[in-house]
């Protein structure tokens, strides 16, 4: 199977599906639902094929839009838009497609009572499309366009229930923060373009290595600031705690599970490791010199934000009485772990510790996407059946909704990091590497987990408590809502049974490819120059 041939369908299928949705939904409710499921299932098939191809061949797919090669006639540098998929991108593509399919399946039952559903399904497919685009793009401006596609779709989805003040207020806050972050990123791109005259990520990396300037540093600062906003790191996490609970639960699952990772963590890793590669400097100049941009200081900067995020997010989760708000703060905390892994990967670049930390961060990104999606879907079921998400009114849910409670138990145990489940392996990699790198960071990570455990034990305590009359009539939901939860539980358990195999076979090679000791990301692009 040819990776380049199937890659465009990753965008074509959801794009076509999204804009055909209003026409298809003229044929009725059933047609609309079937169309949404078929499109997202097809996307998952393509995503699996892309992932399998990249993982099997360990080669980076380079796809040029509208031509055979990114290089122009008689020009020695890339002038066309390229898509580049390495293993990290492929993993994100697979995760996005999987969780999106679950969210669409869940919406069939959950959104049944809402109106304007053709717009809802259009937006959900556009959201998926934007995230897939970010994961595969190799061009900075293309990245910005996909980022904005994703962001606009998610602002609209947060405010989808516009008859409630909650959705509107959260949507307004989310939109202002997201737009200002998007402006930062656009300014960074404009500065890099003005300095180096190109937008292709791999070629900018070469240019920066040859001639690092102050402009490149300012652009890096703007990128980091914008992407920390987008990923919901402390001290700018307030929008996340408002926006994620206010959205419909299927959307919360996508926002918390995917949007903050792809639009924040993945993009930051791509910019730090592929564009401002710490290695490129010495390879391009064929000699080891002290890099002009001190990447280990940048790593420490991210570590500081990560520690702050980790403590604040998890500690705030403990005191929440609103179930979805608790989950949203827990997302902030988990983003802290991922940022910690990323920061150590950059600060300890080139050592075993850095590699393990980076692998842990990537592993935790995938795991957290699955776990948090499951937890938000459970919260949605509770809202659907009981009509409240106030933890004080939900006591004794285990009696009337046993299957849902079981799903929550699995998700909570996984996110805390209990051994037989998937959260254990990824958190272990992060603890291990942070303790080796700097014991204080290891201690901070453990304290964060203690808070996290407290928060989830509190919810479970409520669920298993004495039944209140409020929950007496609650029942386990219908199949279309049960099925995605079951599939996510299965994914957690299966990934939990093979922790070290996944780590060695997938995550470590991914980290190695992202670190590009052999210049992989740039070579994959520049090696095409011979054919021009």
């Amino acid at each position: 199977m040819n990776g380049e041939a199937i890659l465009p369908y990753l965008i074509i299928i959801p794009l076509f599906g999204a804009f055909a949705m209003p026409i298809v939904s003229l044929a009725g409710k059933k047609a609309r639902e079937a169309w949404a499921v078929i499109i997202s299932a097809l996307t998952l098939v393509v995503a699996s094929a892309v992932f399998y191809h990249v993982w099997k061949t360990k080669e980076i797919i380079v796809y040029t839009l509208g031509a055979k090669t990114p290089f122009g006639q008689g020009v020695g540098f890339p002038i066309r838009i390229v898509w580049e998929v390495d293993l990290f991108g492929a993993i994100m593509v697979l995760t996005v497609a999987f969780v999106s399919l679950m969210a669409v399946l869940y919406s069939l039952g959950y959104m049944k009572h809402d109106t304007g559903l053709e717009k809802y399904y259009t937006l959900i497919l556009i959201l998926e499309l934007g995230m897939l685009g970010i994961a595969i793009t190799g061009d900075l401006f293309n990245f910005y366009v996909f980022l904005e596609i994703m962001s606009i779709a998610s602002y609209a989805l947060v405010a989808f229930r516009n008859d409630t003040w909650e959705g509107i207020e959260a949507g307004v806050k989310y939109m202002f923060v997201g737009s200002i972050a998007g402006s930062f990123i656009l300014l960074g791109i404009a500065l890099l373009y003005g300095q180096y005259g190109t937008l292709t990520m791999g070629y900018i990396a070469v240019k920066i290595a040859e001639n690092p300037t102050v402009t490149a540093k300012v652009a890096l600062a703007l990128f980091i600031a914008g992407l920390l906003f987008k990923s919901g790191a402390s001290p700018v996490h307030m929008w996340l705690a408002d926006a994620h609970p206010a959205a419909p639960s299927s959307i919360s699952a996508m926002l918390s599970g995917l949007v903050i990772k792809v639009g924040g963590i993945y993009a930051m890793a791509r910019i730090l490791f592929s564009i401002y590669s710490p290695m490129a400097h010495s390879i391009v100049l064929k000699a080891y010199l002290q890099p002009y941009i001190n990447m280990s200081a940048i790593g420490w900067l991210i570590i500081i934000f990560a520690s702050l995020t980790l403590i604040i997010g998890n500690a705030m989760a403990v005191i929440q009485t609103d179930m979805k708000r608790l989950l949203a703060y827990s997302s902030v905390g988990q983003i802290g772990y991922i940022l910690l892994g990323l920061g150590i990967g950059l600060a300890a670049y080139g050592t075993q510790t850095g590699e393990v930390a980076l692998a842990g961060a990537i592993y935790h990104t995938v795991n957290h996407a699955i776990m948090k999606a499951l937890l938000f879907l459970v919260a949605g079921v509770v809202i659907h059946e009981v009509g409240t998400r106030n933890l004080n009114e939900l006591s004794g849910l285990a009696k009337t909704m046993p299957k849902t409670t079981f799903a929550f138990l699995i998700g909570a145990a996984a996110i805390v990091g209990l051994p037989p489940l998937n959260g254990f392996a990824s958190k272990w990699l992060i603890y291990e590497s942070s303790a080796v790198f700097n014991p204080v960071l290891g201690a901070i990570a453990i304290i964060g987990t203690a808070f996290c455990t407290a928060a989830y034990v509190r919810v479970l305590y409520t669920f298993f408590g004495r039944p209140s009359e409020r929950v007496a009539n609650a029942r386990d939901p219908e199949t279309s809502m049960m099925l995605p939860m079951l599939l996510l539980v299965l994914a957690i358990v299966i990934m939990g049974l093979l922790p070290w195999q996944i780590s060695d076979k997938v995550m470590i090679p991914t980290a190695r490819m992202l670190e590009q000791f052999k210049f992989e990301y740039i070579n994959a692009l520049m090696s095409l120059a011979g054919g021009a």
């Binding site: 606009i152 207020e169 939109m175 200002i180 402006s183 656009l186 373009y193 206010a246 609103d322 708000r325």
Partner: protein, 119 residues
Amino acid sequence: MIPFQFITAFLMMAIGIYAFLYKRNLIKLILALNIIDSGIHLLLVSLGYRMELNEPPTAPIYTGYETLKSAMVGPLPQALVLTSIVIGVCVLALAMALTINAYRHYGTLDVRALRRLRG
């Protein structure tokens, strides 16, 4: 010497950021976002501007470019700005829709009133 377009562009961004931080009306905040975006667009467009032989550049239209005496402006920044303007219009439309809805629910456009979500 820094070209005056760049100074204007950064001045516009500064004005936008000032308005974003100190204004309390939702519509003024949306205008602030647009001023910041316009500043970035001005920066991008002026990156493509170049003078050759003291002649101002012409539009990047390739038919009959052999007879041109002066240089052409860079076409890529213009394409970028066009795309970015379209994105800006999307955000603007969505922001206005949300503002209308916020006014319906809160009866005011003051952002300080949008504080019911807590915890």
